[in-house]
Amino acid sequence: MRKKRIFSIVFALALLGAILAFFSRLLMPKHVSMVREGALVGEYYIEADEGREHQILFLGDCEAYGCFIPAIIWEASGLTSYVRGSPAARVWQSYYLLLDTLEYEKPDVVVLSVFALCHGDAQSEAYNRLALDGMRLSKNKINAVKASMSEDEILISYIFPLLRYHSRWSELRREDIDYLFAREAVSHNGYLFESGSRAPDTEQSPEELFDYSLPDRAIEYLDKIRLCCEERGIALVLVKSPTQSGHYWWYDEWDARVREYAERYRLDYYNLIGSEEIGIDGGDYADGVHLNFLGAEKTSRYFGKVLKEKYFPSAAPHGEETKRVWKDKLDKYYIERNKFSEGEK
């Protein structure tokens, strides 16, 4: 009887595990046709599992994954890169994504988009999910969750996402079945294609703030990113993307603080707003706030060259395999670009 009971318990645990794992996979949002941003963080592991390493790692929020196109940077400067960003990602999330990336590779340069430095709290549970659900279960993920969670969130629901997404059973769609076990990447090495065209509202002036200091929590994690890079001999570069619009205004006071921080720790800080070399105009915006692919291409070509000159002046040429892989990536990018361009015509 005892053996029977032990067998039954083991069998039940295995069966329960299989059922819950299956439903977890089925019920988690796939982020293929809707809210594609949610797929960004997880797609990195496709590269990581194939053992591909990158010279540059971009970290940040929409200003990172919407402004820097690794395929164009490769085309313009011959540098390999990956963008690990997600919507409204906070600095602590970028820090843990950096640690997570370092488990798989060691880039030469880490570029941190600084816009997130103006936030000391998470945007919302939904945005936390977009940033954290895609991370593989690890110590870094758990720490990232702990750093991001609001009061009404529970850690275990990040470890067992079924606890969060179980209610989707009544709204399952075709894509939940289609992409149950396998899926194609929606991004181009972390860049999410944006095709709209709407110039920012130049009439709209920035809101006056009560306090222009950067939150301590953001600076604390910026310090952690800096120290982490220093310890590993990685160059840390701070960048403000060229976007500037009403609700997403980069105030001069913030800029001065970041510049001061960069000077203190001898970091490079590039504020690309209004850069004549890039030449961003109204037609380069997707929705009045974020850049479309035209703006992102301009930014990537320019910034890729900047990074090449500064950090990789005499880098050894890439091997044939790398060149082949990146040619494929570039082709894939242009296929999507052309699809859109044809659609527009």
């Binding site: 009887m1 029977k4 009971r5 067998f7 039954s8 318990i9 069998f11 039940a12 069966l15 329960l16 059922i19 819950l20 439903f23 019920l27 549970e125 009404d152 969130e153 529970i154 275990i156 629901s157 079924l162 606890l163 969060r164 179980h166 209610s167 059973w169 009544s170 709204e171």
Partner: protein, 527 residues
Amino acid sequence: MSTLEFVGFTAAVLLLYYLVPRRAQSAVLLAANVFYCLSAGLLCLLSVIGVTTAAFCSSVKIERAAAKEHATPQERAVTKEHATPQERAVTKERATPQERKKSRRTLVFGLVFTLSSLVLVKLFSLLESASVLFRESEGGTLGLAFYSLSASGYLIDLYRGKIRREKSFLKLFIFVGFFPCIRLGPISRYSQLSPQLNKPHAPVWENIVSGAIRMLWGYFKKLVVADTALVAVRAIVAEPQKYGGGYIFFLIILYSVAIYADFTGGIDIALGASRMLDISLAENFDRPFSSESVREYWKRWHITLGAYFTDYVFYPLSISRPMRAISKRLRKSKYKKIGKKMPVYIALVFTWFLTGAWHGLSPNFILWGLSNAAVIIAAQELSPLSARFHQKHPTVNNNAVWRLFCVVRTFLIIGAIRIFDLWGNALTTPRAIASIFFDARGWKDLFGGGFLSLGLSLPEWIALAVGVALIFAVSKLDFKKDGKMRNIVTRRPLLTMLVIVALVSATAIFGSYGVGFDESSFIYSQF
């Protein structure tokens, strides 16, 4: 404590309980009670300690008074051998009328002392919404309405000489604050629960697995059925102007289902957790929706509360001296017929008034209680008519259609009265019920697919219906009583485990919990 936390907590208690030496098991229960109360807030712990202290201090005097009042010479002879010198002293002679009066006063004082915090909390709750759907979380007063009744029942039983005084404060605390039943009951009797709490227990496979299944079944009822149904209930209740007619009829059914699944689910969790500890609590339900009359229904619903009010309020009141005096006077007057019934009816109305007040002191709960009393009295007064009908048609009582009619009639009457819970304004309920007969638009709208606008999609309605059907089927199998079904399941380890897997999976997938839900809140824990 959230669902997962309570499951984890119970598992940890279980492990410790069976790992420690048997004589230390009480200490584990004590620590578990303290931890559980603290998880609800320091106020909760202080409240349980306060009620226990009140009961403990009162019990010393009450025991002494009870010994005098109840000991007969024979009893004294029997107990003398085992009695302490103090007890021997107090049982020397039978109580005089003055002593009896004094001992009753001691009991009343003890009860006031024990129940005062409950009364205060009820008074303060008048400041909150009187609707069970829109109240704040119970917070620090978690379960006060349940454990203070257990403590007061202990004092009354002690006064009546049915039990002996608990001399250890900690043991009394373990009884009053026994963690599985602190939130929702069942309201325990000291004579039934305390001996179990103080004896050693060995782990028994059947107890552990049947307790686990019962707990999981409770969670299924609560999360899959009750909380899903409550989404639609809330939508209707929030806009009584918009949802009338058929929606109210639907609300009566839906809220009956929701409160049944919510309360029985909570009780299943409590009974399951206790069973795993090899402790049996009193059953609180006996398929109430199979009742053919309102009176029968109340014998099958919240049995422990009903028994409390019957034993400690209704019976003592109906045979009290003032009641006997009223009866006597009426029987001598021209109202001879009613003279016999009057004490019972007065006691009934008072008991239901108190039951309503136990749920809340606001008018809607008082009206709820008095409506129940009115229906029971009306049924009693109409019973001669009913008897004549059955005399004429003697076969009708065994007719399945007639019995079904009685069951449905009882269900609807109880359901209609119960929706007094839902609106703080007591007048909204009669208005809403009247709309069932006069608001044709609501009926048309409901059958035109309006139920899909109540916050649940069609698949969710289907899942709810399946859940209700499952509850009905399981209640028919009578799993609770040590019947065949439980033996079949628990004696076959593989089948047991498959049932557990099915319950965990179904609750995890179809349950209403997580963001936007407070799955740890039960409707009855707000009373």
